[in-house]
Protein backbone atom coordinates (compact mmCIF):
# COMPACT_ATOMS: atom_id res chain seq x y z
CA UNK A 1 0.00 0.00 0.00
CA UNK A 2 2.76 2.42 0.90
CA UNK A 3 4.90 2.80 -2.14
CA UNK A 4 8.28 4.22 -1.47
CA UNK A 5 9.67 6.87 -3.78
CA UNK A 6 13.27 7.96 -3.72
CA UNK A 7 13.07 11.73 -3.50
CA UNK A 8 16.23 13.64 -2.69
CA UNK A 9 16.17 16.71 -0.50
CA UNK A 10 17.02 19.20 -3.25
CA UNK A 11 14.08 17.99 -5.33
CA UNK A 12 11.81 17.99 -2.28
CA UNK A 13 12.83 21.55 -1.44
CA UNK A 14 12.32 22.78 -4.97
CA UNK A 15 8.91 21.17 -5.42
CA UNK A 16 7.35 21.78 -2.04
CA UNK A 17 8.63 25.34 -1.72
CA UNK A 18 7.34 26.34 -5.16
CA UNK A 19 4.57 28.36 -3.52
CA UNK A 20 7.04 30.46 -1.52
CA UNK A 21 9.98 30.70 -3.88
CA UNK A 22 7.88 31.25 -7.03
CA UNK A 23 4.28 32.32 -7.41
CA UNK A 24 2.00 30.01 -9.40
CA UNK A 25 0.17 31.80 -12.25
CA UNK A 26 -3.28 31.10 -10.85
CA UNK A 27 -2.48 32.42 -7.38
CA UNK A 28 -2.96 36.15 -7.82
CA UNK A 29 -6.24 36.04 -9.82
CA UNK A 30 -7.72 33.51 -7.38
CA UNK A 31 -6.73 35.45 -4.30
CA UNK A 32 -8.05 38.66 -5.87
CA UNK A 33 -11.45 37.16 -6.62
CA UNK A 34 -11.64 35.64 -3.15
CA UNK A 35 -10.55 38.96 -1.70
CA UNK A 36 -13.45 40.68 -3.43
CA UNK A 37 -15.91 38.11 -2.07
CA UNK A 38 -14.41 38.52 1.40
CA UNK A 39 -14.76 42.26 1.14
CA UNK A 40 -18.39 42.00 0.06
CA UNK A 41 -18.99 39.70 3.03
CA UNK A 42 -17.38 42.11 5.45
CA UNK A 43 -19.48 44.97 4.09
CA UNK A 44 -22.64 42.89 4.49
CA UNK A 45 -21.65 42.05 8.06
CA UNK A 46 -21.11 45.73 8.73
CA UNK A 47 -24.57 46.50 7.30
CA UNK A 48 -26.07 43.85 9.53
CA UNK A 49 -24.32 45.19 12.61
CA UNK A 50 -25.56 48.66 11.71
CA UNK A 51 -29.15 47.74 10.92
CA UNK A 52 -29.62 44.90 13.38
CA UNK A 53 -30.58 41.24 13.08
CA UNK A 54 -33.88 42.15 11.43
CA UNK A 55 -32.15 41.97 8.05
CA UNK A 56 -31.82 38.23 8.59
CA UNK A 57 -34.67 35.72 8.44
CA UNK A 58 -34.35 35.01 12.17
CA UNK A 59 -37.51 35.59 14.13
CA UNK A 60 -39.57 33.96 16.85
CA UNK A 61 -39.45 30.96 17.21
CA UNK A 62 -36.38 30.28 15.04
CA UNK A 63 -33.74 32.26 16.91
CA UNK A 64 -30.90 30.13 15.66
CA UNK A 65 -30.68 29.51 11.92
CA UNK A 66 -28.04 29.69 9.24
CA UNK A 67 -25.40 31.39 11.36
CA UNK A 68 -25.41 28.84 14.15
CA UNK A 69 -25.58 25.98 11.64
CA UNK A 70 -22.54 27.36 9.85
CA UNK A 71 -20.81 27.97 13.18
CA UNK A 72 -21.23 24.32 14.16
CA UNK A 73 -20.20 23.30 10.63
CA UNK A 74 -16.90 25.19 10.83
CA UNK A 75 -16.16 23.88 14.30
CA UNK A 76 -16.76 20.44 12.80
CA UNK A 77 -14.35 21.06 9.94
CA UNK A 78 -11.73 22.14 12.44
CA UNK A 79 -11.65 18.64 13.87
CA UNK A 80 -9.75 17.44 10.82
CA UNK A 81 -6.49 18.87 12.00
CA UNK A 82 -6.10 17.00 15.21
CA UNK A 83 -7.57 13.82 13.83
CA UNK A 84 -4.97 13.64 11.07
CA UNK A 85 -2.09 15.27 12.85
CA UNK A 86 -2.39 13.98 16.39
CA UNK A 87 -4.10 10.61 16.17
CA UNK A 88 -2.18 9.48 13.12
CA UNK A 89 1.07 10.72 14.68
CA UNK A 90 0.41 8.76 17.86
CA UNK A 91 -0.44 5.62 15.89
CA UNK A 92 2.66 6.19 13.73
CA UNK A 93 0.77 6.03 10.43
CA UNK A 94 3.23 6.91 7.67
CA UNK A 95 0.58 8.08 5.25
CA UNK A 96 -0.29 11.14 7.30
CA UNK A 97 2.87 12.96 6.28
CA UNK A 98 1.78 15.11 3.34
CA UNK A 99 -1.42 16.14 5.01
CA UNK A 100 -0.64 17.15 8.56
CA UNK A 101 0.16 20.79 8.07
CA UNK A 102 -2.70 21.53 5.69
CA UNK A 103 -5.08 19.82 8.10
CA UNK A 104 -3.78 21.82 11.08
CA UNK A 105 -4.07 24.96 9.01
CA UNK A 106 -7.64 24.14 8.10
CA UNK A 107 -8.29 23.74 11.82
CA UNK A 108 -6.88 27.14 12.70
CA UNK A 109 -8.65 29.03 9.94
CA UNK A 110 -11.98 27.28 10.30
CA UNK A 111 -11.92 27.94 14.06
CA UNK A 112 -11.22 31.61 13.41
CA UNK A 113 -14.15 31.69 11.04
CA UNK A 114 -16.38 29.76 13.43
CA UNK A 115 -15.64 32.25 16.21
CA UNK A 116 -16.94 35.10 14.02
CA UNK A 117 -20.45 33.67 13.92
CA UNK A 118 -21.46 33.91 17.59
CA UNK A 119 -19.93 37.40 17.63
CA UNK A 120 -21.97 38.74 14.73
CA UNK A 121 -25.00 36.84 15.95
CA UNK A 122 -25.25 39.03 19.02
CA UNK A 123 -27.63 41.90 18.45
CA UNK A 124 -25.06 44.31 19.84
CA UNK A 125 -21.65 42.73 19.21
CA UNK A 126 -19.76 45.62 20.78
CA UNK A 127 -21.22 44.62 24.14
CA UNK A 128 -19.29 41.38 23.91
CA UNK A 129 -16.05 43.33 23.82
CA UNK A 130 -17.13 45.28 26.88
CA UNK A 131 -17.92 42.35 29.05
CA UNK A 132 -15.08 40.01 28.13
CA UNK A 133 -12.07 42.10 28.95
CA UNK A 134 -11.96 43.52 31.52
CA UNK A 135 -14.77 41.97 33.51
CA UNK A 136 -17.36 44.53 34.50
CA UNK A 137 -16.19 44.33 38.06
CA UNK A 138 -17.69 47.56 39.32
CA UNK A 139 -21.24 46.36 38.84
CA UNK A 140 -20.36 42.93 40.21
CA UNK A 141 -21.72 41.19 37.12
CA UNK A 142 -19.76 38.42 35.49
CA UNK A 143 -20.34 36.10 32.57
CA UNK A 144 -22.34 33.14 33.77
CA UNK A 145 -19.95 30.20 33.66
CA UNK A 146 -22.87 27.80 33.90
CA UNK A 147 -24.00 28.78 30.43
CA UNK A 148 -22.80 26.65 27.50
CA UNK A 149 -22.64 29.92 25.56
CA UNK A 150 -19.74 30.94 27.81
CA UNK A 151 -18.16 27.50 27.77
CA UNK A 152 -18.13 27.59 23.95
CA UNK A 153 -15.73 30.52 23.49
CA UNK A 154 -13.48 29.17 26.25
CA UNK A 155 -13.28 25.79 24.55
CA UNK A 156 -12.88 27.16 21.05
CA UNK A 157 -10.21 29.64 22.16
CA UNK A 158 -8.33 26.87 23.91
CA UNK A 159 -8.46 24.70 20.81
CA UNK A 160 -7.51 27.62 18.56
CA UNK A 161 -4.56 28.65 20.74
CA UNK A 162 -3.37 25.07 21.05
CA UNK A 163 -3.66 24.38 17.32
CA UNK A 164 -1.90 27.61 16.37
CA UNK A 165 0.98 26.91 18.72
CA UNK A 166 1.17 23.30 17.53
CA UNK A 167 1.24 24.54 13.94
CA UNK A 168 4.04 26.97 14.74
CA UNK A 169 6.18 24.45 16.57
CA UNK A 170 5.91 21.98 13.72
CA UNK A 171 6.71 24.79 11.28
CA UNK A 172 10.08 25.61 12.88
CA UNK A 173 12.25 23.19 10.80
CA UNK A 174 10.63 24.38 7.58
CA UNK A 175 11.13 28.00 8.58
CA UNK A 176 14.80 27.15 8.93
CA UNK A 177 14.71 25.64 5.47
CA UNK A 178 13.04 28.75 4.02
CA UNK A 179 15.60 30.95 5.73
CA UNK A 180 18.30 28.96 3.93
CA UNK A 181 16.59 29.30 0.52
CA UNK A 182 15.80 33.03 0.53
CA UNK A 183 17.55 36.39 0.58
CA UNK A 184 16.62 39.98 1.40
CA UNK A 185 13.57 40.82 3.47
CA UNK A 186 12.21 37.29 3.18
CA UNK A 187 15.41 35.92 4.65
CA UNK A 188 15.17 38.39 7.52
CA UNK A 189 11.55 37.42 8.17
CA UNK A 190 12.27 33.69 8.19
CA UNK A 191 15.39 34.17 10.30
CA UNK A 192 13.34 35.82 13.01
CA UNK A 193 10.47 33.30 12.76
CA UNK A 194 12.75 30.25 12.79
CA UNK A 195 14.21 31.39 16.14
CA UNK A 196 17.69 30.24 15.14
CA UNK A 197 16.81 26.66 14.18
CA UNK A 198 19.92 24.61 13.29
CA UNK A 199 18.81 21.02 13.19
CA UNK A 200 20.93 19.45 15.92
CA UNK A 201 19.77 16.20 17.56
CA UNK A 202 18.41 18.04 20.61
CA UNK A 203 16.12 20.16 18.49
CA UNK A 204 14.95 17.18 16.42
CA UNK A 205 14.30 15.19 19.57
CA UNK A 206 12.18 18.03 20.91
CA UNK A 207 10.23 18.02 17.67
CA UNK A 208 9.53 14.31 18.03
CA UNK A 209 8.87 14.16 21.77
CA UNK A 210 7.16 17.53 21.82
CA UNK A 211 5.02 16.57 18.85
CA UNK A 212 3.86 13.42 20.60
CA UNK A 213 3.24 15.26 23.87
CA UNK A 214 1.32 18.07 22.20
CA UNK A 215 -0.69 15.53 20.23
CA UNK A 216 -1.59 13.74 23.43
CA UNK A 217 -2.64 17.02 25.05
CA UNK A 218 -4.59 18.27 22.07
CA UNK A 219 -6.60 15.10 21.66
CA UNK A 220 -8.68 15.55 24.84
CA UNK A 221 -9.19 19.19 23.89
CA UNK A 222 -10.38 18.14 20.44
CA UNK A 223 -12.94 15.77 21.94
CA UNK A 224 -14.12 18.35 24.44
CA UNK A 225 -14.60 21.26 22.03
CA UNK A 226 -17.30 19.80 19.87
CA UNK A 227 -18.87 18.16 22.89
CA UNK A 228 -19.21 21.56 24.51
CA UNK A 229 -20.65 23.00 21.29
CA UNK A 230 -23.15 20.12 21.25
CA UNK A 231 -24.15 20.93 24.82
CA UNK A 232 -25.39 24.32 23.56
CA UNK A 233 -28.29 22.24 22.34
CA UNK A 234 -28.33 19.13 24.51
CA UNK A 235 -28.76 20.84 27.86
CA UNK A 236 -31.90 22.67 26.71
CA UNK A 237 -34.90 20.55 27.63
CA UNK A 238 -37.41 22.98 26.11
CA UNK A 239 -36.61 22.32 22.46
CA UNK A 240 -37.63 19.00 20.95
CA UNK A 241 -34.91 16.91 19.44
CA UNK A 242 -32.18 18.60 21.49
CA UNK A 243 -32.30 17.09 24.97
CA UNK A 244 -30.41 13.89 24.24
CA UNK A 245 -27.38 12.52 26.06
CA UNK A 246 -25.83 11.26 22.84
CA UNK A 247 -25.15 14.69 21.38
CA UNK A 248 -21.55 14.99 22.56
CA UNK A 249 -20.01 11.89 20.88
CA UNK A 250 -22.47 12.23 17.99
CA UNK A 251 -21.26 15.72 17.17
CA UNK A 252 -17.62 14.74 17.63
CA UNK A 253 -17.82 11.80 15.26
CA UNK A 254 -19.80 13.92 12.78
CA UNK A 255 -17.06 16.54 13.02
CA UNK A 256 -14.38 13.95 12.29
CA UNK A 257 -16.44 12.76 9.30
CA UNK A 258 -16.85 16.23 7.81
CA UNK A 259 -13.35 17.34 8.81
CA UNK A 260 -11.54 14.42 7.22
CA UNK A 261 -13.67 14.81 4.08
CA UNK A 262 -12.64 18.47 3.95
CA UNK A 263 -9.01 17.36 4.19
CA UNK A 264 -9.57 15.06 1.20
CA UNK A 265 -11.01 17.99 -0.77
CA UNK A 266 -8.05 20.11 0.20
CA UNK A 267 -5.48 17.43 -0.65
CA UNK A 268 -6.91 16.96 -4.13
CA UNK A 269 -6.78 20.70 -4.71
CA UNK A 270 -3.20 20.90 -3.41
CA UNK A 271 -2.07 18.13 -5.72
CA UNK A 272 -3.70 19.71 -8.74
CA UNK A 273 -2.85 23.35 -8.08
CA UNK A 274 0.77 23.00 -6.99
CA UNK A 275 1.50 19.87 -9.04
CA UNK A 276 2.59 17.80 -6.04
CA UNK A 277 1.98 14.45 -7.72
CA UNK A 278 5.11 12.96 -6.16
CA UNK A 279 4.04 13.82 -2.63
CA UNK A 280 0.26 13.51 -2.59
CA UNK A 281 -0.38 10.14 -4.11
CA UNK A 282 -3.38 7.88 -4.70
CA UNK A 283 -2.40 5.70 -1.74
CA UNK A 284 -2.96 8.66 0.61
CA UNK A 285 -6.50 9.02 -0.69
CA UNK A 286 -6.95 5.27 -0.34
CA UNK A 287 -5.93 5.39 3.32
CA UNK A 288 -8.11 8.42 4.04
CA UNK A 289 -11.10 6.83 2.35
CA UNK A 290 -10.74 3.69 4.46
CA UNK A 291 -10.63 5.83 7.58
CA UNK A 292 -13.69 7.68 6.34
CA UNK A 293 -15.64 4.45 5.85
CA UNK A 294 -15.07 3.51 9.49
CA UNK A 295 -15.85 7.00 10.77
CA UNK A 296 -18.91 7.40 8.55
CA UNK A 297 -20.33 4.06 9.65
CA UNK A 298 -19.74 4.99 13.28
CA UNK A 299 -21.49 8.26 12.61
CA UNK A 300 -24.40 6.39 11.06
CA UNK A 301 -24.68 4.24 14.19
CA UNK A 302 -24.83 7.36 16.34
CA UNK A 303 -27.47 8.90 14.06
CA UNK A 304 -29.52 5.74 14.35
CA UNK A 305 -29.23 5.78 18.14
CA UNK A 306 -30.20 9.44 18.31
CA UNK A 307 -33.32 8.87 16.23
CA UNK A 308 -34.24 5.66 18.05
CA UNK A 309 -34.03 7.22 21.48
CA UNK A 310 -35.87 10.33 20.36
CA UNK A 311 -38.84 8.13 19.49
CA UNK A 312 -38.25 5.77 22.42
CA UNK A 313 -39.46 8.38 24.91
CA UNK A 314 -42.93 8.27 23.34
CA UNK A 315 -43.12 12.00 23.97
CA UNK A 316 -45.82 13.56 21.75
CA UNK A 317 -43.99 16.82 20.86
CA UNK A 318 -40.81 14.89 20.07
CA UNK A 319 -42.66 12.47 17.81
CA UNK A 320 -44.43 15.38 16.10
CA UNK A 321 -41.07 17.00 15.46
CA UNK A 322 -39.60 13.85 13.92
CA UNK A 323 -42.68 13.44 11.81
CA UNK A 324 -42.25 17.00 10.52
CA UNK A 325 -38.53 16.59 10.04
CA UNK A 326 -38.78 13.43 7.96
CA UNK A 327 -42.14 13.59 6.21
CA UNK A 328 -43.17 17.23 5.72
CA UNK A 329 -42.03 19.56 3.01
CA UNK A 330 -39.42 21.10 2.83
CA UNK A 331 -37.79 19.19 5.64
CA UNK A 332 -38.36 15.81 4.05
CA UNK A 333 -36.47 16.83 0.92
CA UNK A 334 -33.62 18.20 2.99
CA UNK A 335 -33.57 15.03 5.06
CA UNK A 336 -33.33 12.80 2.00
CA UNK A 337 -30.60 14.96 0.47
CA UNK A 338 -28.74 14.92 3.79
CA UNK A 339 -28.81 11.17 4.08
CA UNK A 340 -27.85 10.57 0.48
CA UNK A 341 -24.96 13.01 0.46
CA UNK A 342 -23.58 12.31 3.94
CA UNK A 343 -23.58 8.53 3.71
CA UNK A 344 -25.65 6.68 1.13
CA UNK A 345 -23.76 7.88 -1.96
CA UNK A 346 -20.15 8.35 -0.82
CA UNK A 347 -19.62 5.36 1.46
CA UNK A 348 -20.71 2.57 -0.90
CA UNK A 349 -18.54 4.21 -3.54
CA UNK A 350 -15.54 4.21 -1.21
CA UNK A 351 -15.84 0.46 -0.75
CA UNK A 352 -14.19 0.06 -4.14
CA UNK A 353 -10.46 0.52 -4.42
CA UNK A 354 -10.84 1.98 -7.90
CA UNK A 355 -12.87 4.83 -6.45
CA UNK A 356 -10.57 5.32 -3.46
CA UNK A 357 -7.55 5.78 -5.69
CA UNK A 358 -9.37 8.01 -8.18
CA UNK A 359 -8.59 11.50 -7.00
CA UNK A 360 -11.34 13.26 -8.92
CA UNK A 361 -13.99 10.93 -7.50
CA UNK A 362 -12.60 11.36 -3.99
CA UNK A 363 -12.74 15.13 -4.47
CA UNK A 364 -16.41 15.13 -5.48
CA UNK A 365 -17.54 12.58 -2.89
CA UNK A 366 -15.82 14.54 -0.12
CA UNK A 367 -17.67 17.68 -1.19
CA UNK A 368 -20.92 15.72 -1.15
CA UNK A 369 -20.20 14.64 2.42
CA UNK A 370 -19.77 18.21 3.55
CA UNK A 371 -23.00 19.28 1.89
CA UNK A 372 -24.68 16.48 3.79
CA UNK A 373 -23.04 17.33 7.09
CA UNK A 374 -24.01 21.00 6.79
CA UNK A 375 -27.58 19.86 6.19
CA UNK A 376 -27.34 17.54 9.20
CA UNK A 377 -26.55 20.46 11.48
CA UNK A 378 -29.33 22.49 9.88
CA UNK A 379 -31.80 19.66 10.44
CA UNK A 380 -30.80 19.33 14.09
CA UNK A 381 -30.97 23.03 14.89
CA UNK A 382 -33.83 24.53 12.93
CA UNK A 383 -36.77 22.05 12.86
CA UNK A 384 -36.91 21.81 16.65
CA UNK A 385 -37.28 25.56 16.80
CA UNK A 386 -39.42 25.89 13.70
CA UNK A 387 -42.17 23.52 14.64
CA UNK A 388 -45.14 25.72 15.13
CA UNK A 389 -46.71 25.03 18.48
CA UNK A 390 -49.63 26.76 20.17
CA UNK A 391 -48.91 30.25 21.60
CA UNK A 392 -46.08 30.99 19.20
CA UNK A 393 -48.25 33.26 17.00
CA UNK A 394 -46.01 32.98 13.99
CA UNK A 395 -47.29 32.21 10.54
CA UNK A 396 -44.12 32.42 8.47
CA UNK A 397 -41.63 29.64 8.10
CA UNK A 398 -37.93 30.34 8.58
CA UNK A 399 -36.41 31.53 5.35
CA UNK A 400 -32.75 32.62 5.38
CA UNK A 401 -32.36 36.10 3.92
CA UNK A 402 -29.78 37.14 1.26
CA UNK A 403 -27.74 38.67 4.09
CA UNK A 404 -27.41 35.25 5.75
CA UNK A 405 -26.55 33.52 2.50
CA UNK A 406 -23.92 36.15 1.68
CA UNK A 407 -22.24 35.73 5.05
CA UNK A 408 -22.42 31.94 4.62
CA UNK A 409 -20.59 32.21 1.28
CA UNK A 410 -18.20 34.75 2.81
CA UNK A 411 -17.11 32.14 5.39
CA UNK A 412 -15.96 29.71 2.67
CA UNK A 413 -14.21 32.47 0.75
CA UNK A 414 -12.53 33.69 3.96
CA UNK A 415 -11.11 30.28 4.87
CA UNK A 416 -9.84 29.67 1.33
CA UNK A 417 -8.41 33.18 1.16
CA UNK A 418 -6.49 32.69 4.40
CA UNK A 419 -5.19 29.29 3.27
CA UNK A 420 -3.92 30.74 -0.01
CA UNK A 421 -2.31 33.69 1.77
CA UNK A 422 -0.57 31.29 4.11
CA UNK A 423 0.64 29.21 1.17
CA UNK A 424 2.48 32.24 -0.21
CA UNK A 425 4.72 32.42 2.85
CA UNK A 426 4.80 28.94 4.36
CA UNK A 427 4.81 25.46 2.83
CA UNK A 428 1.55 23.55 2.99
CA UNK A 429 3.29 20.18 3.03
CA UNK A 430 5.76 19.71 5.88
CA UNK A 431 9.13 19.28 4.18
CA UNK A 432 10.94 17.80 7.13
CA UNK A 433 8.24 15.13 7.49
CA UNK A 434 8.64 14.20 3.84
CA UNK A 435 12.41 14.02 4.24
CA UNK A 436 11.96 12.09 7.48
CA UNK A 437 9.95 9.48 5.61
CA UNK A 438 12.87 8.99 3.22
CA UNK A 439 15.14 8.29 6.21
CA UNK A 440 12.66 6.20 8.17
CA UNK A 441 11.37 3.98 5.37
CA UNK A 442 13.21 1.33 3.43
CA UNK A 443 12.31 -1.45 1.06
CA UNK A 444 13.23 -4.92 2.28
CA UNK A 445 13.32 -8.19 0.43
CA UNK A 446 11.29 -11.00 1.97
CA UNK A 447 12.01 -13.89 -0.33
CA UNK A 448 11.48 -12.41 -3.78
CA UNK A 449 8.97 -9.83 -2.64
CA UNK A 450 9.97 -6.23 -2.14
CA UNK A 451 8.10 -5.04 0.92
CA UNK A 452 8.02 -1.48 2.28
CA UNK A 453 9.30 -1.24 5.84
CA UNK A 454 9.52 1.36 8.55
CA UNK A 455 12.44 2.05 10.85
CA UNK A 456 11.15 2.27 14.41
CA UNK A 457 13.36 3.77 17.04
CA UNK A 458 13.67 1.86 20.28
CA UNK A 459 10.83 3.41 22.27
Amino acid sequence: MQQRRELDQVYTNRKLLNGQLDTPKWWLPTVSILGVVVLIGVVVIAIMVNKGLGVTGLARPVYWGLFITTFVFWVGISHAGIMISAILRLTQAEWRRPVTRAAELLTVFSLLTALVFPLIHAGRPWRIAYWIMPYDVSRGIYPNIRSPLIMDPVAISTYLTGSTLFLYIALLPDLGNLRDRTTGWKNAMYTVLSLGWRGNPRQWKMQTVGGILLSALMLPIFVSVHSIVSWDFAVASAVEGWHSTIFAPYFVIGAVHSGVSAVVTMMALMRWLWKWDDFIRPEHFDALARLLIVVATGWLAFTFLELTFALYGQDAPEIALREMQMFQWPWNALFIIFFLTAYAIPVPMWLFKRVRTNIALMFWTSILVNIGMWLERFLIIVPGLARRTPFVYTWEAYRPSPVEWTIFIWSFAWVTFLMLLFSKFFPLVPLFEQKESQVFTKDVMIGRAKVPAIVREAD
Binding site: R146, I169, R181, L195, G196, P201, F432, E457
Partner: protein
Protein backbone atom coordinates in the same frame (compact mmCIF):
# COMPACT_ATOMS: atom_id res chain seq x y z
CA UNK B 1 36.30 33.34 22.94
CA UNK B 2 35.16 30.03 21.45
CA UNK B 3 35.96 29.10 17.97
CA UNK B 4 34.07 26.54 15.94
CA UNK B 5 34.53 24.59 12.76
CA UNK B 6 31.94 22.84 10.62
CA UNK B 7 32.71 19.76 8.52
CA UNK B 8 30.26 19.04 5.70
CA UNK B 9 29.38 15.58 4.42
CA UNK B 10 26.93 14.39 1.81
CA UNK B 11 26.32 10.93 3.27
CA UNK B 12 25.48 9.86 6.85
CA UNK B 13 28.17 7.13 7.16
CA UNK B 14 31.19 9.43 6.83
CA UNK B 15 29.54 11.87 9.22
CA UNK B 16 29.14 9.04 11.76
CA UNK B 17 32.81 8.13 11.20
CA UNK B 18 33.75 11.73 11.98
CA UNK B 19 31.71 11.61 15.21
CA UNK B 20 33.45 8.36 16.22
CA UNK B 21 36.84 9.90 15.38
CA UNK B 22 36.15 12.95 17.53
CA UNK B 23 35.18 10.74 20.47
CA UNK B 24 38.34 8.68 20.09
CA UNK B 25 40.47 11.83 19.81
CA UNK B 26 39.28 12.77 23.29
CA UNK B 27 36.94 15.65 22.51
CA UNK B 28 34.46 16.17 25.33
CA UNK B 29 30.85 15.12 24.79
CA UNK B 30 28.76 18.23 24.31
CA UNK B 31 31.49 20.14 22.43
CA UNK B 32 30.70 18.51 19.10
CA UNK B 33 27.37 17.95 17.45
CA UNK B 34 25.77 16.91 14.18
CA UNK B 35 23.42 19.11 12.11
CA UNK B 36 20.90 17.56 9.73
CA UNK B 37 18.04 18.79 7.58
CA UNK B 38 15.89 15.85 8.58
CA UNK B 39 15.51 13.86 11.78
CA UNK B 40 17.43 10.58 11.97
CA UNK B 41 16.70 7.72 14.40
CA UNK B 42 18.07 8.52 17.82
CA UNK B 43 21.68 7.53 18.20
CA UNK B 44 22.22 7.18 14.45
CA UNK B 45 25.40 9.25 14.63
CA UNK B 46 26.41 8.09 18.10
CA UNK B 47 25.60 11.57 19.29
CA UNK B 48 25.07 12.54 22.90
CA UNK B 49 21.69 14.06 23.76
CA UNK B 50 21.37 14.95 27.41
CA UNK B 51 18.19 14.22 29.35
CA UNK B 52 15.33 16.56 28.73
CA UNK B 53 12.82 17.76 31.28
CA UNK B 54 9.99 18.45 28.86
CA UNK B 55 7.43 16.50 30.85
CA UNK B 56 7.68 18.91 33.77
CA UNK B 57 6.35 21.79 31.73
CA UNK B 58 2.80 20.55 31.04
CA UNK B 59 2.49 19.40 34.66
CA UNK B 60 3.49 22.82 35.93
CA UNK B 61 1.25 24.58 33.42
CA UNK B 62 -1.70 22.37 34.30
CA UNK B 63 -1.38 23.18 38.00
CA UNK B 64 -1.33 26.91 37.27
CA UNK B 65 -4.28 26.62 34.88
CA UNK B 66 -6.26 24.53 37.32
CA UNK B 67 -5.72 26.97 40.17
CA UNK B 68 -6.64 29.98 38.07
CA UNK B 69 -9.74 28.29 36.72
CA UNK B 70 -10.99 27.26 40.17
CA UNK B 71 -10.52 30.83 41.28
CA UNK B 72 -12.22 32.32 38.22
CA UNK B 73 -15.24 30.05 38.23
CA UNK B 74 -15.79 30.00 41.98
CA UNK B 75 -15.28 33.70 42.58
CA UNK B 76 -17.49 34.83 39.70
CA UNK B 77 -20.32 32.62 40.88
CA UNK B 78 -20.03 33.76 44.49
CA UNK B 79 -19.59 37.42 43.62
CA UNK B 80 -22.94 37.58 41.85
CA UNK B 81 -24.96 34.79 43.39
CA UNK B 82 -27.72 34.34 40.84
CA UNK B 83 -29.66 31.10 40.61
CA UNK B 84 -30.01 30.01 36.99
CA UNK B 85 -32.18 27.07 36.01
CA UNK B 86 -32.47 25.82 39.58
CA UNK B 87 -28.77 25.11 39.77
CA UNK B 88 -26.80 25.72 42.99
CA UNK B 89 -24.72 28.90 43.33
CA UNK B 90 -21.51 26.86 43.29
CA UNK B 91 -22.35 24.64 40.32
CA UNK B 92 -19.37 22.35 40.46
CA UNK B 93 -20.39 20.21 37.46
CA UNK B 94 -20.63 23.29 35.27
CA UNK B 95 -17.39 24.69 36.67
CA UNK B 96 -15.65 21.45 35.70
CA UNK B 97 -15.88 22.27 32.02
CA UNK B 98 -14.19 25.68 32.24
CA UNK B 99 -11.70 24.27 34.73
CA UNK B 100 -10.85 21.45 32.33
CA UNK B 101 -10.37 23.78 29.35
CA UNK B 102 -8.23 26.27 31.23
CA UNK B 103 -6.10 23.49 32.73
CA UNK B 104 -5.49 22.03 29.27
CA UNK B 105 -4.80 25.47 27.75
CA UNK B 106 -2.22 26.27 30.39
CA UNK B 107 -0.70 22.83 29.94
CA UNK B 108 -0.42 23.27 26.16
CA UNK B 109 1.08 26.76 26.43
CA UNK B 110 3.58 25.53 29.01
CA UNK B 111 4.49 22.58 26.77
CA UNK B 112 5.14 24.88 23.83
CA UNK B 113 7.31 27.10 26.01
CA UNK B 114 9.06 23.94 27.16
CA UNK B 115 9.70 22.70 23.63
CA UNK B 116 11.18 26.05 22.61
CA UNK B 117 13.24 26.25 25.80
CA UNK B 118 14.50 22.66 25.67
CA UNK B 119 15.46 23.19 22.03
CA UNK B 120 17.62 26.04 23.35
CA UNK B 121 15.69 28.51 21.26
CA UNK B 122 15.38 31.37 20.46
CA UNK B 123 19.01 31.50 19.58
CA UNK B 124 19.57 34.53 17.43
CA UNK B 125 23.31 33.81 17.23
CA UNK B 126 23.25 30.19 16.29
CA UNK B 127 26.86 30.11 15.21
CA UNK B 128 28.48 28.39 12.29
CA UNK B 129 26.07 26.91 9.75
CA UNK B 130 25.68 26.07 6.08
CA UNK B 131 22.49 26.38 4.03
CA UNK B 132 23.24 23.10 2.25
CA UNK B 133 22.33 21.28 5.45
CA UNK B 134 18.66 21.72 4.56
CA UNK B 135 19.43 20.25 1.15
CA UNK B 136 20.55 16.93 2.56
CA UNK B 137 24.13 17.64 3.59
CA UNK B 138 25.19 16.70 7.09
CA UNK B 139 27.29 19.00 9.22
CA UNK B 140 29.56 18.05 12.12
CA UNK B 141 30.30 21.10 14.23
CA UNK B 142 32.96 21.29 16.94
CA UNK B 143 33.35 24.16 19.40
CA UNK B 144 36.70 24.91 21.08
CA UNK B 145 37.70 26.92 24.10
CA UNK B 146 41.33 27.05 23.02
CA UNK B 147 42.61 27.03 19.47
CA UNK B 148 45.24 24.35 19.97
CA UNK B 149 42.84 21.51 19.21
CA UNK B 150 41.53 22.93 15.92
CA UNK B 151 44.15 21.13 13.85
CA UNK B 152 43.29 17.78 15.52
CA UNK B 153 39.61 18.28 14.78
CA UNK B 154 40.34 19.22 11.18
CA UNK B 155 42.42 16.10 10.66
CA UNK B 156 39.63 13.90 12.08
CA UNK B 157 37.12 15.50 9.72
CA UNK B 158 39.40 15.15 6.72
CA UNK B 159 40.14 11.53 7.56
CA UNK B 160 36.41 10.81 7.68
CA UNK B 161 35.97 12.36 4.24
CA UNK B 162 34.61 15.86 4.84
CA UNK B 163 33.89 17.58 1.54
CA UNK B 164 34.43 21.04 3.03
CA UNK B 165 35.45 22.53 6.36
CA UNK B 166 34.23 25.97 7.38
CA UNK B 167 35.72 28.08 10.15
CA UNK B 168 34.11 30.64 12.39
Amino acid sequence: MSKSILGLFQQPEPAADAMDGLKEAGFELGTFDVLTGTPYPEGAFGEYVPQHRLFRFPAFGAIIGFTLSVFLTAVTQLAYPMVTGGKPIMSIFAMLIIMYEMTMLAGVIATVVGIIFESRLPNMQPGIYDTRITEGWIGVVITFDDESKVADAESVLNKAGALEIKHA
